[in-house]
């Protein structure tokens, strides 16, 4: 499933312009050290974090998109970095658990 299709089906709100690539898996974490060692390339990362360090880690791992739960909003420099990296940045009113259930319903 492409980033845009997943965003539409899960009711996610796009924060930036992104590369519409294939999403292959899901990872949930709020720790950047954990993301670095456990998230997979092409994954959708669900998190509460909005720190710039999150994008530095997500970019290195080559995640496809980041969904920030509970409608938290990242700062402009975080959005700018994600955009340069081509990482789709989205937020959702849902909490992490509800997002996970929704993605499971979508076949992940």
């Amino acid at each position: 499933m492409k980033v845009s299709e997943l965003a539409q089906k899960a009711g996610l709100k796009a924060i930036n312009e992104f590369r519409d690539r294939e999403v292959e898996s899901v990872y949930i974490s709020d720790m950047v050290s954990d993301i670095l060692t456990a998230a997979k390339a092409g994954s959708v990362l669900i998190t509460l974090q909005t720190h710039k360090s999150l994008i530095a880690a997500a970019n290195l791992v080559n995640v496809a998109m980041v969904v920030i739960a509970k409608n938290r909003k990242p700062a402009d420099d975080v959005v700018e970095l994600a955009t340069r990296a081509g990482i789709g940045l989205f937020n959702s009113d849902l909490d992490t658990w509800a997002l996970a259930k929704k993605l499971a319903q979508l076949g992940f």
Binding site: V32, S33, S53, I55, N62, A75
Partner: protein, 192 residues
């Protein structure tokens, strides 16, 4: 990936704390990885240094192993990775960052001793393996990761970048500049 190249995966992943110390005498910084339940905060003399605790963050260390040949590269001499934003023309890393095109990212592998007084840094073998690991699955993507050792920085203590570390993650960003100013006024008793 070219024929005969390694196929790396992370191994020996261990969780702990990255503890940063500083010497007020000479301004040097040092860091070490601790797997103790609580990060150590001791102050102590070591040679000409007097190390004091500056802070710590949760961290993860790992090695790289080739799934094809079984070779393992020990990365115990790497304490972290930093996405470089250096633009200093007098710095080799800054110059490298300036030369990169879109989709190419420079990360600095950080060793424990910012002074490099002992002549040690992240090994060449480790840097080579990290470069291969972070680029091996990119396929046709217009994307590249370049990992360099921190000894290439003009001054790693002044270098600009975003360290991948679980520290400062709970700092709140203001949602608007107005909110930022309002918070600043709150902190300063109403003064701008």
């Amino acid at each position: 990936m070219s024929e005969g190249a390694h196929r790396w995966f992370m191994t020996n992943i261990r969780d702990g704390y990255l503890v940063v110390e500083g010497c007020p005498e000479c301004g040097a910084r040092s860091s070490f990885f601790s797997t103790e339940h609580v990060p150590p905060v001791d102050e102590y003399h070591d040679g000409g240094h007097f190390w004091i605790y500056l802070g710590s963050s949760q961290a993860t260390k790992f090695d790289l192993k080739c799934g094809d040949c079984g070779k393992t590269v020990d990365l115990c001499d790497m304490n972290g990775l930093m996405l470089s934003a250096c633009r200093d023309p007098g710095c080799a890393v800054g110059e490298l960052v300036r030369r990169q095109g879109p989709g190419s990212w420079v990360y600095v592998a950080l060793c424990p001793d910012s002074t490099h007084a002992g002549g040690r840094c992240v090994s060449n073998e480790g840097i080579e393996a990290l470069n291969e690991y972070f680029n091996q699955d990119l396929g046709a993507m217009d994307r590249r990761v370049v990992v360099v050792p921190c000894r290439q920085c003009d001054s790693i203590d002044r270098c600009r970048g975003t360290v991948i570390a679980d520290v400062g993650l709970t700092d709140l960003y203001a949602e608007t500049p107005e909110e930022d100013r309002r918070r600043a006024k709150g902190r300063t008793g109403g003064k701008e």
